[in-house]
Subunit: 204 residues, 2 copies
DNA sequence: GTCTATAAGGTGATAGAC
DNA sequence: GTCTATCACCTTATAGAC
């Protein structure tokens, strides 16, 4: 981010409105598919006024993504080496599913970036994310070696957790097309399924 | 597709080259992010010549997607009610993973379409796909009722299979950034993991 | 800080020669 | 069937008045 952080109340409010609108539009249309017109309209500003707050379309996108990785990693950070292994992993699964329910746009923004080759966050993936995965994979392997967990490759186990939980945000349209749920009721079924599913797979 | 099917050998060859190039470009860049220039260059044709074979950019995209749903559904169609439940499901998981290994571009094209709201295949999702899921969910429920399978909600079980297997195609960049695999070696680990994972979760 | 007007460049699609 | 040239449109970004 090249721009100095906003100072006044109105500036903060407009900046927030822009980022919120941009998240909504980018997550639905992708970077190239989103237009400044859409974002400006949804933020309630004119297009030149929007470009007064951010120097370019890409700057908005980068700002959104750079804040996202921390949110992304938080639930895994919470996994505690000294807790009960199965309870820790199940709790992680449910936190991650909750993120799909509460922050579907953020999940789709992330998914879009990865599917398109992650040009703007590949360094963070190879750096912070990889390091955290290695750390937690070691913890899981320790649990396995202690006989407290089924012997499953820890990294692929983490991939499976990301995949199954993010699916409900990223493929939301498909899930709804098949289940025809009222509102978000199917998230409760998903939580129940995933909890039972992982308990069964993980018991030693 | 508005255009009459190609007849001559050269026409067939060019049409194939266009579709192959378009699949590659669309899956990397998305519909809006892809340009006819890129597709034409990758197909070895000029842009006007490309538009001699297809009436528009969207026509190419639709042609790709319309052929994809059948490929998509095929592995699930093969699941046999009269086979051994756990073996049938594990075999389906491995067929699906094999598709991620062999057809990653197709998987990403599909993922892109869903993430962006599936404007061109929502009808097929609500129709063919939904019907097939209902059919196979009933089969799985029958296996559960017969005590041959753990009691897990069949539709969410299918979602989990799609999510975990497609993850290796759609999030390929992330998986590689974390595992740093040589070539596609990690697919063998993924297969081993998923087989053990589903066997453990599914046993009654 | 916010607007109207517009520049500058890219992109889908067409015209017309060969 | 394939090409060069070009149109028409859209989109990002800037200029300059207020």
């Amino acid at each position: 981010m090249n721009k100095v952080r906003p100072q006044t109340r109105i500036q903060r409010k407009n900046t927030e409105a822009i980022l919120e609108a941009a998240l909504s539009v980018f997550s639905r249309a992708g970077f190239r598919g989103a237009t400044l017109d859409q974002i400006a309209r949804e933020a309630g500003l004119s297009k030149p006024n929007l470009l007064y707050y951010f120097p370019s379309k890409e700057a908005i996108h980068i700002e959104l993504l750079s804040g996202l990785m921390d949110v992304w990693l938080a639930p895994l950070h919470q996994m505690d080496e000294h807790g009960d292994p199965i309870e820790e992993i199940v709790a992680y699964v449910l936190r991650k599913l909750e993120m799909s329910r509460e922050l579907p746009n953020e999940s789709r923004l992330f998914a879009n970036e990865i599917v398109h080759g992650a040009p703007r966050i590949l360094d963070q993936i190879k750096g912070d994310l990889r390091a955290l995965v290695e750390e937690k994979a070691a913890v899981i392997q320790g649990w396995i070696d202690a006989g407290k967990l089924a012997p499953l490759e820890p990294r692929h186990l983490l991939f499976s957790i990301w995949a199954t939980t993010q699916h409900y945000a990223d493929f939301d349209v498909q899930v709804r097309g098949i289940l025809r749920p009222e509102a978000n009721a199917h998230f409760n079924d998903a939580a129940e399924f995933l909890e039972q599913f992982y308990r069964r797979a993980l018991r030693p």
